[in-house]
């Protein structure tokens, strides 16, 4: 077991963030280079910067670039959402996938398509946001206020049960109605490939707003970690902080799920790695987790492209294979501590 890291001073942490940003750039380049057809880095850069006209350039600009951008955005969003969820619930297992927020978004979409028959991108995204918001709110209402020993596990089981229930309802809608099935088929396994481009202009600003809210919320999360009373005496508006947190998680997890389907474990692994690297201050954990989440999902997607030739593994499946052992390692700690 590693000892908890020493508190670091700001310059060291800033350097760390710069390092993580460099890692993200490397991961993005790797995602552009590697695939069923390997394209040299020089050609990739040429295609991006100088508008070269060749087969490889077309592959890069029309296939790999959108896929990389989607992976980057979704990974960043899920990493941020996971960090906030762990901070607010103080539960080390909190993750938008495991704790039902992604399932809530999926259920929202299924419900709207099933009941209203609507399929326009705007409605789908709004439904995903509403579902994610409802699930997050339910989680906060149920889970906060009782964080004693055991309640940690109770919250984990509550949340996974909620996720199972929402998934069951979603699949029942999909099986009862062909149109819903058509929309929901994409969602069965989370993936960043072949996503609908028309969503970008809608989803991008929403995710960005979520990121801004998440970063703004980070300081309040840190003081809330000392207990609601201490936080209040430090000038944090507890209710406001919670509401901002719910809004940020909803925007981040909802948009990521609306575009990619349910991808679990990014929001679990990224904050834990970030915490190991930066210490326990959420002002650093949240940005580090955002960067790490994006790198993680890009690497998972890239690995999935080459792991099982001739086919591909969806990023969601690679993430589960990477993330489940991390989850098991967390549960094996000698004492399960609230964060």
């Amino acid at each position: 077991m590693l000892l908890p890291p020493e508190p670091r001073r700001a310059p060291a942490r800033a350097a760390l963030l710069a390092g993580l940003a460099a890692l993200l750039v490397a991961a993005a380049l790797l995602s552009l280079v590697v695939g069923s057809r390997s394209i040299p880095v020089g050609d990739v850069l040429g295609a991006l910067l100088r508008e070269v006209d060749s087969d490889d350039a077309t592959v890069v600009t029309s296939q790999r670039l959108p896929r990389t951008l989607v992976g980057l955005a979704a990974g960043a969003a899920l990493g941020g959402a996971g960090a906030l969820m762990q901070g607010h619930t103080r539960n080390p297992l909190a993750d938008p996938g495991l704790f039902g927020v992604n399932a809530g978004a999926g259920f929202g979409v299924a419900l709207v398509v099933f009941v209203l028959g609507a399929q326009s991108p705007a409605v789908v995204v709004l439904a995903a946001l509403a579902g994610a918001g409802a699930a997050t709110t339910a989680l906060f209402v149920l889970g906060l206020g009782s964080l004693r020993a055991g309640a940690l596990v109770v919250l984990a089981v509550l949340a996974t049960t909620l996720a199972a229930l929402l998934t069951a309802l979603t699949s029942s809608f999909a099986l009862l109605d062909r149109q819903t099935l058509d929309v929901m088929r994409f969602w069965a396994v989370g993936s960043v490939a072949g996503r609908d481009d028309s969503l970008v202009w809608l989803v991008g600003p929403l995710a960005l707003a979520g990121l801004v809210l998440a970063l703004a919320n980070a300081r309040a999360v840190s003081t809330l970690g000392l207990g609601a009373d201490v936080a209040r005496s430090l000038g944090t508006g507890v209710l406001r902080a919670r509401v901002v947190g719910i809004a940020a998680i909803t925007l981040l997890a909802g948009t990521a799920t609306a575009v990619c389907g349910p991808i679990g474990f990014v929001g679990l692994v990224a904050p834990h790695v970030a915490r190991r690297l930066t210490g326990h201050d959420y002002r650093w954990i949240v940005p580090a987790s955002v960067l790490l989440g994006a790198s993680l999902l890009l690497l998972a997607d890239t690995a999935g492209r080459v792991a099982a030739p001739p086919g591909e593994l969806q990023a969601g499946i690679v993430m589960a294979a990477l993330g489940a052992p991390v989850l098991l390692a967390i549960t094996r700690r000698r004492r399960l501590v609230a964060l």
């Binding site: 089981v157 069951a168 549960t331 094996r332």
Partner: protein, 353 residues
């Protein structure tokens, strides 16, 4: 241990001691009557309704070929529902008893998901796909599911061992193993490119669609001796509920009882999964509901089995009536998950107070 002491009427047959209590007896009779009633309803009222006298004739072997086929299918399906439900209910009661934790049912601990993953692995390999039909195929599937269930259980036990078992850590590790196994199922299904969506839904959510009589053989082979063994174990499990030290001082060997109950749990849950896939929440709901209905001190294995049978049977019958037939696992999850949530919210309320 002596039976027939101060309360109730005692009865003893070999190693089985039975204390007849009025409430439990009445509840058992009611549940079994309900099971029979639902089986009859399921046979009579279905998409293709047969007149009762034709149904009887077909059961007696005097109907036309189509009637015989229809009745045969329905009877197999109803029987499958009863056996799967009973196996899951019983296995849930056993695991809840040995962990002393109502949450720790085989589906939360990842046993059913592990069994499901192994069964899918066999199904998508050419060897397994070739032997899919017939008793041989179902036996292969059963053995694979059993191996998967054992592997998942072993993984959970090894990973949660910390100089002793903590009920909470067991559940958390179970959640992790469950997630891993479900991801494996999803991956195997995407690789297999199965044309048949029904096969995929069976292994994702649990379904009794197109179940064959041959598939029930391994289940019956495990379930019937398991039920007898539960009756033998009942006393010792009762002692175990009071804690390991008390169980020891009552003259039982707790470690041995736990091991026997664990073997039964894994075997029952795995074989049931081989037939119907991971039917959600039955193993959690049935024993907990039985405990309240029968007013027993802990989750009762045999009463849990009876209630589990009723639950799966009703869920499957309801599922067939819906405009598009839903897999039974969705119905049981929709019933079971809110029940689990409500129980837990109530317990949260208690700890807060």
């Amino acid at each position: 241990m002596s039976t027939g002491t101060s309360t109730g009427t005692g009865l003893r047959i070999g190693p089985v001691g039975l204390r007849v209590r009025r409430r439990a007896a009445a509840a058992t009779a009611a549940v079994l009557a309900a099971v029979v009633a639902v089986v009859v309803t399921a046979l009579l009222i279905a998409v293709l309704a047969l007149a009762p006298e034709r149904e009887l004739a077909a059961l007696a072997g005097e109907g036309s070929r189509i009637e015989a086929l229809v009745v045969d299918r329905r009877l197999t399906r109803a029987l499958a529902a009863v056996l799967v439900g009973a196996a899951l209910g019983c296995s849930g009661a056993l695991s809840q008893t040995i962990t002393r934790n109502p949450i720790a049912s085989p589906d939360v601990l990842g046993v059913t998901a592990g069994a499901s993953a192994a069964a899918v692995l066999v199904t998508v390999t050419p060897l397994g796909a070739g032997a899919a039909a017939g008793v041989g195929g179902s036996a292969l599937l059963g053995v694979a599911a059993l191996a998967g269930g054992v592997a998942a259980t072993a993984l959970v036990l090894v990973l949660s061992w910390r100089g002793g078992f903590d009920g909470y850590r067991l559940v958390l590790v179970g959640i992790g193993v469950n997630a891993l196994a479900l991801a494996a199922v999803a991956w195997l299904l995407t690789r297999a490119e199965l044309e048949d969506a029904a096969v995929a839904t069976r292994w994702m959510t649990g379904s009794l669609d197109g179940v064959r009589a041959a598939a029930l053989v391994p289940l019956a082979v495990v379930a019937v001796p398991a039920a007898l063994l539960c009756a033998v174990l009942a006393d010792r499990l009762g002692a175990l509920r009071l804690g390991r030290e008390v169980a020891l001082s009552l003259g039982t060997r707790p470690a041995r009882t736990e091991l026997q109950a664990l073997v039964l749990t894994v075997a029952l849950a795995s074989v049931a999964t081989a037939v119907a896939g991971p039917v959600g929440f039955v193993a959690f709901v049935a024993p907990q509901a039985a405990m309240r209905l029968f007013r027993t001190a802990g989750p009762p294995p045999l009463a849990g089995a009876a209630l589990g049978a009723l639950l799966v049977l009703v869920a499957d019958t309801v599922a067939q009536w819906l405009p598009a037939a839903l897999p039974v696992g969705i119905i049981t999850s929709v019933i079971g998950a809110p029940y689990l949530l409500s129980l837990m919210i109530r317990s949260l309320g208690r700890t807060r107070a």
